[in-house]
C-alpha cells in the first residue's frame, strides 16, 4: 500500500502546529503578497510572545497591536502608499515594542545564514550606522591578507515561516506568480516548518499547471503544510490576481486613531473566521476586481 503523502491542513490545524514564544517569519514585502489569512488566524488564536521576522506590512502592525509580539525583527514597516504603518507606529510611540531594526539586506543575510546552517554571514552593511548601536552585533576580521573588519550578521533561524502564493498541491509544490517573489524562498529555507497558504490547492501541480514550473519559488522539501485560503493575501496585493485594497488599508489606518483601539477593529474587521472576513471585505468578486497597484 502506498503511504499517504499529503500536506493539506486547515487553519485550525495550522494554529495547533504553533506554540507560544515561537520565532515566525512572514513572507511578502510591505503591503504585497502577505499571508494575511494565516496572520488573521494567529490574531484569532491565543498564541502570544511571538518573535516576528518580516519586511513588514500590515501584519506587523496588526500583530503588534494585538499584543502578540514579544519582539519584532524587521527590515522596514510600511504600507507603501501609506508610508508609516499606523498601528506599528501607535504601539511603538505609546506602549513600546521590543524590536531589532535591520537593514533590508541584513535581514536577507540573516535568513540565508540560517538556511545554510551558518552562525553568521559577514557584511559591510550596518557599519557606521546606528543599526550597530542598538542591535547586539559583533565584528569579524577577515583571516586573509586584506584583514577587513566586517559585521557578522547572525543567522535568523525560524521556527515557522508563513507564505501566501497562488497555487499549491497536496505534496507541497507551490507556484508564486506575479512580478516579484521577494525573499519568500529564504524565509522558507530558514524555517523548521513552512506553512503556505494558497489561492488554490490542487492534487498534483504537474497535472494541473505543468507550464508554470518556473514559478516554483522553493522546493517542496521546504514546504511542510499547505492551506487553501482564497483571497488570503487581502488587503495586501497578489499580482496578477488582485491588487491591494486601498480603501481597506485606509480604514485600517484610520482605526488607529479611533476609539475602541485594537479590540474594536479586530472584532469589526478580522472577525470570527475567514468567511466572515471575506464577506466584510465586499466578497470574492470585489476582491478579485481590485486593480493592481501602479508604482
Amino acid at each position: 500500500m502506498t503511504p499517504v503523502f499529503d500536506k493539506r491542513i486547515d487553519l485550525d490545524q495550522f494554529i495547533a502546529s504553533l506554540r507560544d514564544g515561537m520565532t515566525i517569519g512572514v513572507g511578502g514585502w510591505g503591503p504585497r503578497r502577505k499571508p494575511m489569512a494565516l496572520v488573521r488566524a494567529i490574531l484569532r488564536s491565543s498564541l502570544k510572545d511571538l518573535t516576528i521576522v518580516c519586511y513588514g506590512g500590515p501584519e506587523a502592525g496588526m500583530l503588534c497591536a494585538a499584543g502578540k509580539v514579544k519582539k519584532l525583527i524587521f527590515g522596514f514597516v510600511s504600507l507603501d502608499a501609506i508610508p508609516l504603518e499606523p498601528w506599528f507606529r501607535k504601539v511603538r510611540e505609546t506602549v513600546g515594542q521590543d524590536i531589532l531594526e535591520l537593514d533590508e539586506g541584513m535581514l536577507q543575510w540573516g535568513l540565508k545564514a540560517a538556511a545554510m546552517g551558518l552562525p553568521f554571514l559577514p557584511t559591510r552593511v550596518g557599519l557606521g550606522t546606528d543599526v550597530t548601536t542598538y542591535g547586539d552585533f559583533r565584528m569579524v576580521t577577515s583571516p586573509y591578507d586584506d584583514g577587513e573588519v566586517l559585521l557578522a550578521m547572525p543567522a535568523i533561524p525560524l521556527d515557522a515561516a508563513l507564505l501566501h502564493v497562488h497555487r499549491a498541491d497536496a505534496r507541497g509544490n507551490i507556484q508564486a506568480l506575479g512580478p516579484d517573489t521577494y525573499y519568500d524562498e529564504w524565509f522558507a529555507r530558514a524555517a523548521k516548518r513552512t506553512f503556505v497558504s494558497a489561492e488554490e490547492v490542487v492534487e498534483r501541480m504537474d497535472l494541473a499547471y505543468p507550464d508554470d514550473a518556473r514559478a516554483n519559488i522553493v522546493e517542496r522539501c521546504f514546504v511542510h503544510a499547505v492551506i487553501e485560503a482564497p483571497y488570503g493575501a487581502h488587503p495586501t496585493s497578489l499580482p496578477p490576481s488582485y491588487g491591494w485594497d486601498m480603501a481597506a488599508l485606509k480604514a485600517y489606518a484610520a482605526a488607529a486613531g479611533a476609539e475602541g483601539g485594537w479590540p474594536a477593529y479586530q472584532q469589526a474587521v478580522i472577525g470570527a473566521d475567514e468567511a466572515n472576513y471575506l464577506a466584510g471585505a465586499g466578497g470574492a468578486e470585489a476582491v478579485a476586481a481590485l486593480p493592481l497597484p501602479i508604482f
Binding site: 514585502w29 524587521f74 527590515g75 522596514f76 514597516v77 510600511s78 508610508p83 508609516l84 506599528f88 507606529r89 511603538r92 510611540e93 513600546g96 531594526e101 535591520l102 537593514d103 533590508e104 539586506g105 541584513m106 536577507q108 559591510r124 552593511v125 550596518g126 557599519l127 557606521g128 550606522t129 546606528d130 543599526v131 548601536t133 542598538y134 565584528m139 576580521t141 584583514g147 577587513e148 573588519v149 566586517l150 512580478p179 516579484d180 517573489t181 521577494y182 525573499y183 524562498e185 486593480p291 493592481l292 501602479i294 508604482f295
Partner: protein
Amino acid sequence: MATLAELCILACAEAFRGSGEVIATGIGPVPRLGAGLAKSTHSPELMMTDGEAFLVEDPVPIGPRGYDDRKAAGYLPFSRFFDAAVWTGRRHAIVTPTQIDRFGQTNLSYLGGSHDKPKVQMLGVRGFPGNSIYHINSMFIPAHSQRVFVPGEVDMVSSVGYNPERRVKGGNFSGVDLRRIITNLCVMDFGGTNNAIRIISLHPGVTVGMVQEATGFALEVADDLTETAIPDAAQLAIIARLDPHNIRASVIKGNPPARAEGDGQ
C-alpha cells in the same frame, strides 16, 4: 515658464550624469523624473525599473497608467536587488530622508524620544545602511529647513556619511560616495573641507544667507558658485511626457516658478 519643481528635476538629472551603467533610482516624483530625464537625454546608459520589478529602456511615466503599459527589457525584482544593484555598487539613488546632518548622515527611522519609545516612529532604516556603504547616493529635499538639515547628528544614523567618529577601524568605507543634495533653494555637494557640504549653485533669487539661515550647520560655498540651470523647452517637454498628470506640481509648496516674476533676468 519652468517651475521650481522642474528646475529641481533638471538638477536631479544632472546629479545622475557620469554615474555609469548603473541603476538610477529616484524615490519620489522629482528624483524619479530626474532619472527619466537623464536617461532620455545625456545618459542613455542608465538603467531604470518600472518601479516594481522590470527594467525598462523607456522610462515609465509616473502616476496612473495601464499596469502593462511598461515594456520590459530586463528583470530586476527585489529578490535580486541586493545582489545585483546594491552590493555590487551598480546604483545611484536619489532619496528624501527626514533628517540630514553635516556629515551627510541621514535618518528615516524615527524622530525624537528614544529608540525604545520614539516620539515619531517612521520606516526603520530600510536599505539605507547598505545603500550608503556600497553605491552612489544623492538627496532631494523639497522644503529646505533646519528641521531637515539638523545641527549635531541625526536622531538615528540610518546611512553612512563622512563622520570620522563613526568609521569602524579596519572597515571598508571606500564605497561611500555622496554626490548632490538638491533642495528648493540650492544644489549642494560634498566637495568642501573633509567632504563638508557646500553650496555649488543657488536657484534664481536665492542668496547664500537664505540657505545658511535654513540650515542647522555651517555650509561652505564653492568658489565657482553659479545659478542653477532652468530647463529649456526640450527638457520641459520630456518632463511633461514623463509626468502626464502633473504630479510634480504638488511636490513644492505653492508650486512656485523657477524664477519669480519681476526678477530682473
